[in-house]
Amino acid sequence: MNITPYIFWFLSVMALFSALMMVTSRNPVYSVLWLISTFFAISGHYILLNAQFLAVVNIIVYAGAIMVLFLFVIMLMNLNRETEPQKNRWLKLIGALAGGCLLLVMVAALKDAELQSQQAMVGTGSIGLIKVLGKELFTRYVVPFEISSLLFLSAMVGAAVIGKKEPAQTLKS
């Protein structure tokens, strides 16, 4: 028997449980921490699929950078259970409706998906290794890659422009 299924089940349970806790916990700081735990579980799945680069980048970018920003905002706004606005009943009802619709769409989309023919390649394949991935990105997918980098650049410039201090207003006589 192989150890991979055990790790898979452990990681899946961890991911689902953390995601549930993230949604249900009242304290936003706990939510962020549960989300980080979810990211780690997903990174574990990537490692099982031998997508090492994706796993590490997922940790660096999501768990390391984006969640730090989330935590910054939450800590600085000092959101607590008392200050969290209570949503009214209608919002909850509509939320349940929207969730149900999403479930229907998911069922419709996954109905025809054949699970048998698309088994995950566990622990094999080299597409997730950095050498292969880099070559693919810079040869076959170079145009989408560069376009997405341009998008990032424009987002960065936008953030810099918005974050820039207004020059002190001088009175013109």
Binding site: I36, V56, I60, A63, A65, V68, L71, M75
Partner: protein, 349 residues
């Protein structure tokens, strides 16, 4: 019956290695605190700790004992779970980083081969970065859950400082990776053994990396999260007993690990300079131990430089710190990266 197909010897080998490395990290961190006080005393023309044992060598033990026996105070208004999680996270992230560092040449004896490295994975140095970027949480959670304005301010300072200095650190590292062509730590060392240390080709990259390492470890001149004159004590203000000890200790372990990373990336890892030690025909055990000792010598040198800088250079102001990081180090490391890329392309043509 074989329930799980696990190689017991493999697990045993790795567990032993991990235990040794963790023990070593603790030991070195312990004596770095002693070295810090001794070097400080030396630079300030004092004697330093000299009561506990010969030359005060038992001072770290006494400090540790004191921290363990101190009363533990958890503030009433703090978030109890997170308050305990903070120092634990700081310690865990400080220790995990050591997994991918090659601590010495592999022990090769006939068919058995034992690598002095816990995991020689394809991602190598990126894993170090991943863990370092997660290391922010120890400080942030500890500072926030203390429910103290000073702690919170210090935590936010520390986190933004670490996030900012990760960027030039990564960019200066790209230049090294361009030369090596691999992220594997073992291959980075092997490349340096063959082609000379990276410090010869990447002096600017090393300086940037070193400055960023100082900032990542919250060491002077970048120890703004612990600026006593503005923040009383820093993000661990409300901590007492061994929880405080964990925070302080994690800092020293971080210093140790970042010294090891710098030695590996820029100073040839376990390579002995100027000679080809693999041609000496030493016995494999001696060879491995010697390479490990060489790496340790380099690490101890870096630790000394860390301490030396702390007692020489005064603290920056916070805006100066941010200006240095974003407006000087990032452009510098970008230029360094571009030049290295162009030269690599030109020379390999």
């Amino acid at each position: 019956m074989h329930l799980l197909a696990i190689d017991i010897w493999f697990i045993l080998e790795k567990v032993t290695l991990i235990a040794v490395i963790i023990g070593l990290s603790f030991f070195i961190a312990m004596y770095t605190t002693y070295a810090e006080r001794k070097v400080a005393a030396w630079l300030q023309d004092r004697r330093g700790p000299n009561r506990a044992g010969p030359f005060g060598l038992f001072q770290p033990l006494a400090d540790g004992g004191k921290l363990f026996f101190k009363e533990e105070i958890i503030p009433l208004t703090s978030n109890r779970f997170l308050f305990i999680l903070g120092p634990a996270l700081a310690m865990i992230t400080a220790l995990i980083t050591s997994t991918v560092i090659p601590w010495g040449a592999s022990y090769v004896d006939g068919t058995t081969q034992i690598a002095l490295q816990v995991a020689d994975v394809d991602m190598g140095i990126l894993i170090v970065f991943g863990i370092v970027s997660v290391g922010v949480y120890g400080i942030m959670i500890g500072g926030w859950s203390s429910n103290n304005k000073f702690s919170l301010l210090a935590a936010i300072r520390g986190a933004s400082q670490m996030v900012s200095y990760e960027l030039p650190m990564g960019l200066s590292l790209i230049a090294v990776l361009l030369m090596t062509g691999s992220l594997k730590m073992s291959e980075i060392v092997a490349h340096q053994i063959q082609h000379g240390w990276h410090i010869l080709y990447q002096p600017l990259g090393f300086i940037i990396f070193f400055v960023c390492a100082l900032a990542e470890c919250n060491r002077t001149p970048f120890d703004l999260p612990e600026a006593e004159n503005e923040l009383n004590f820093g993000y661990h203000q409300e901590y007492s007993s061994m929880k405080l000890g964990f925070y302080l200790f994690a800092e020293y372990i971080n210093m140790f690990i970042s010294s090891a990373v710098m030695a590996t990336l820029f100073f040839g890892g376990y390579d002995i300079p100027f000679v080809d030690e693999s041609a000496w025909g030493l016995s494999p055990l001696l060879f491995s131990l010697m390479s490990f000792a060489v790496l340790m010598a380099k690490v101890l040198f870096f630790l000394f430089v860390f301490i030396w800088i702390r007692w020489t250079i005064p603290r920056f102001r916070y805006d100066q710190l941010m200006n240095l990081g974003w407006k000087k180090l990032i452009p510098l490391s970008l230029v360094n990266m571009l030049i290295t890329a162009a030269l690599t392309l030109w020379l390999n043509k």
